[in-house]
């Protein structure tokens, strides 16, 4: 997994490069937007980590130009400007996610993985969590090579949860995902689907826990221990 880090602070960049390398990423680092332009022109990156305040220009403007020219590489923006309005500005310029300084490496890694797990992302084809592997092309879930017998709606549910593993998936989003199978959607059918999926995952010892957050949604994570 190859990442481009665009960050002008040498010390911070060194630690981020080290942290991301430890997490299994290959990281190229540039300290100026000009160099960043040259880097994306010559190599293909799975994601870009972009600092907004660069010495030779505004990272947001740079990103806007990239997006205008059709570049779809997922971008996570880092900034010291952390007002909520700055956040909106970052996302408007075409950023896929936003992280305010200071941040913890684990958070940065988790966010990058979430970006890469999106459909079309570098990790989007095969989603992995715990001992479970989900092939999003053939829509097949397996644990240690053994395929799980899941219904179409359960597979949809599982994919939505896995793409945002470690984060909450709102009820509304899951219900919308299930509406394609309207014969199965009733007032409590989301709960029923999740409950059935949970049983099947537990039976297969998938190492996945689906947390219910009442009134909010669900969160899939690795089962501790």
């Amino acid at each position: 997994m190859r990442l481009l880090l665009v960050e002008d602070n040498d010390r911070l960049a060194q630690f981020v490069v080290k942290g991301l390398s430890d997490a299994g990423f290959t990281v190229d680092w540039v300290g100026r937007l000009e160099e960043a332009g040259a880097a994306v022109a010559t190599a293909t990156f799975d994601a870009i980590v972009l600092d907004l305040g660069m010495p030779d220009g505004d990272g947001g403007e740079w990103l806007k130009h990239r997006r205008a020219s059709g570049d779809k590489v997922p971008v996570l923006v880092l900034t010291a400007r952390a007002g909520t309005s700055d956040k909106v500005k970052g996302l408007n310029s075409g950023a896929d996610d936003y992280l305010a300084k200071p941040f913890e490496m684990a958070e940065l890694v988790a966010r990058l993985k979430a970006l890469l797990r999106r459909p079309g992302g570098a990790l989007g084809l095969t989603l992995e969590l715990g001992k479970l592997s989900f092939d999003s092309v053939h829509r097949e879930a397996s644990v240690a090579g053994r395929s799980l017998a899941l219904s179409r709606s359960e597979l949809t549910l599982l994919e939505l949860l896995l793409r945002r593993a470690g984060r909450v998936v709102a009820r509304r989003l899951l219900e919308e995902g299930l509406y394609g199978f309207d014969d199965e959607v009733g007032p409590n059918s989301l709960e029923a689907h999740v409950s059935r999926l949970r049983k099947k995952l537990d039976a297969a010892d998938a190492g996945i826990q689906i947390h219910t957050l009442r009134g909010i949604g669900y969160l899939a994570g690795e089962r501790a221990g």
């Binding site: 602070n9 010390r11 911070l12 630690f15 981020v16 080290k18 942290g19 430890d22 010291a80 400007r81 952390a82 007002g83 909520t84 309005s85 305010a100 300084k101 200071p102 941040f103 913890e104 490496m105 684990a106 470690g166 984060r167 909450v168 709102a170 947390h211 957050l213 009442r214 009134g215 909010i216 949604g217 969160l219 994570g221």
Partner: protein, 431 residues
């Protein structure tokens, strides 16, 4: 002195008018009866005519004079040789020798003389009118006032008072608008100014001066706000380096302790930024926020953290949208602060509830912790105050920020004991 301008104007106008009335009356009197005043020839001639008409020869052959008991003048009738025939109580002097007709002044008295051939034969008539006597002075003044001055002056006086009052009332109307505008100038809306259009000239200078003073204050205020924001921003990159560096040190005990310290510093910097942002918070009239969506949003954002710390979050009552007039970002911040606070205090394995209420609109956050001691409740919303100073989390700004955000929305933050234990914070909006 808090007397109204209207009252003062009316009072002064009344004084001026009274003075003018008195002066006018006095001038008239002086003109008529003063040292060089004319002799009242008409009155004296009339008196002499009446005397002449009242003379007759009685059946006994003696002259008679028919006059009322108090004819309004003093009189004397004499024969041409000077023998008195009739006289009043204080008769005027006789005509000087050789006078047949004429007038003269004698002290306070004017006297008219005439020699007539009456029915009672040839007689010398003299009539006197006292002009400077007390009676005459006042009665003349009174009659002048009643008959000539009052009908003109009184309506003029009333009209002047009414016009003065109306002019002032109309002229001071802009002051009410200015007062209303001034009430809207707050730290959050420090760029607003008093309206200076459609003002009477007298007020323009004052309003301009006040606006200039506000400009200077706003500048200082802005500088301070910007400084806080700049300082916080400048601290973020070094903190990021420190955090990243500590992350490379692994899970050694010293590193964990340092990580906690840095996390606390980072939180303080974040809160200082929130305060700076809050100072600049202005509610646009059309801004609305859905409390239900907000509750789910905040819960979504904090759920991973809660689960990692073996606590749960639930949202209750967010099935339908609950719209309030409010700023989304700042309300998000307020609710987030309350939920983070609740997560810090709720017991491991328990749930923090975010409750959305529609009528009246309100957001509540309840934890299942020890609750807040009654003695601490008043201090709870003060800046930098924490119940337990040994507890490392938070700088004590969170709840003060919540309260400021609520106040900017006209909402109330309250704290009570939740049923079944724990604390419950509520942001209650106006319907």
């Amino acid at each position: 002195m808090n007397q109204s301008l209207q009252f003062r104007l009316a009072w002064r106008l009344a004084l001026v008018f009274s003075a003018v009335i008195l002066a006018t009356s006095f001038a008239v009197l002086l003109h008529r009866h003063g040292g060089n005043a004319e002799i009242p020839r008409d009155e004296l001639s009339e008196a002499l005519d009446r005397m002449a008409g009242g003379l007759s020869l009685g059946t006994d052959g003696k002259p008679r004079l028919d006059l009322p008991a108090d004819p309004g003048f003093e009189y004397a009738v004499e024969t041409p040789s000077g023998a008195p025939l009739f006289a009043s109580a204080h008769p005027p002097v006789s005509a000087p020798a050789g006078w047949h007709e004429g007038f003269l002044r004698q002290g306070d008295r004017t006297v008219g003389f005439r020699e007539v051939d009456s029915a009672a034969g040839k007689v010398e008539l003299s009539a006197g009118i006292d002009v400077h006597g007390q009676d005459g002075w006042l009665s003349v003044l009174g009659s002048e006032f009643d008959e000539e001055l009052l009908p003109v002056l009184l309506p003029t006086l009333l009209a002047a008072l009414v016009i003065g009052a109306l002019t002032l009332q109309d002229g001071l109307k802009p002051l009410l608008q200015i007062a209303r505008a001034a009430a809207g100038i707050t730290p959050a809306a420090s760029e607003r100014r008093l309206p200076s259009s459609d003002l009477p000239r007298e007020l323009t200078a004052l309003v301009a001066a006040i606006n200039a003073a506000l400009d200077r204050l706003d500048e200082g205020f802005r500088a301070q706000r910007d400084f806080t924001a700049d300082a916080a921003h400048q601290l973020r990159t070094p903190l990021a380096i420190l955090t990243a560096h500590l992350d490379t040190l692994g899970n050694r005990a010293e590193a964990a302790a340092l990580r906690d310290d840095v996390a606390r510093m980072s939180r303080l910097v974040e809160q200082l930024l929130q305060v700076a942002e809050l100072e600049a918070l202005t509610l646009k009239p059309e801004e609305t926020t859905d409390l239900s969506a907000l509750a789910v949003e905040v819960a979504e954002a904090l759920a991973p953290l809660a689960l990692a710390r073996r606590r749960d979050i639930a949202v209750v009552g967010a099935e339908a949208p609950v719209l309030v007039h409010g700023n989304h970002d700042s309300l998000h911040q307020a609710l987030r602060n309350l939920v983070e606070n609740a997560l810090n205090h709720t017991v491991e394995g328990t749930t923090v509830d975010i409750v959305v209420q529609a009528r009246p609109p309100a957001l509540s956050v309840r934890d299942r912790g020890p609750g807040v001691a009654a003695v601490d409740r008043d201090k709870l919303f003060q800046r930098f105050w924490r119940a337990d100073r040994s507890n490392g989390r938070g700088a004590g700004l969170g709840l003060a920020i919540v309260q400021r955000i609520a106040a900017a929305h006209g909402a109330q933050v309250t704290l009570d004991d939740a049923a079944g234990g724990g604390a419950r914070f509520t942001i209650a909006f106006r319907e």
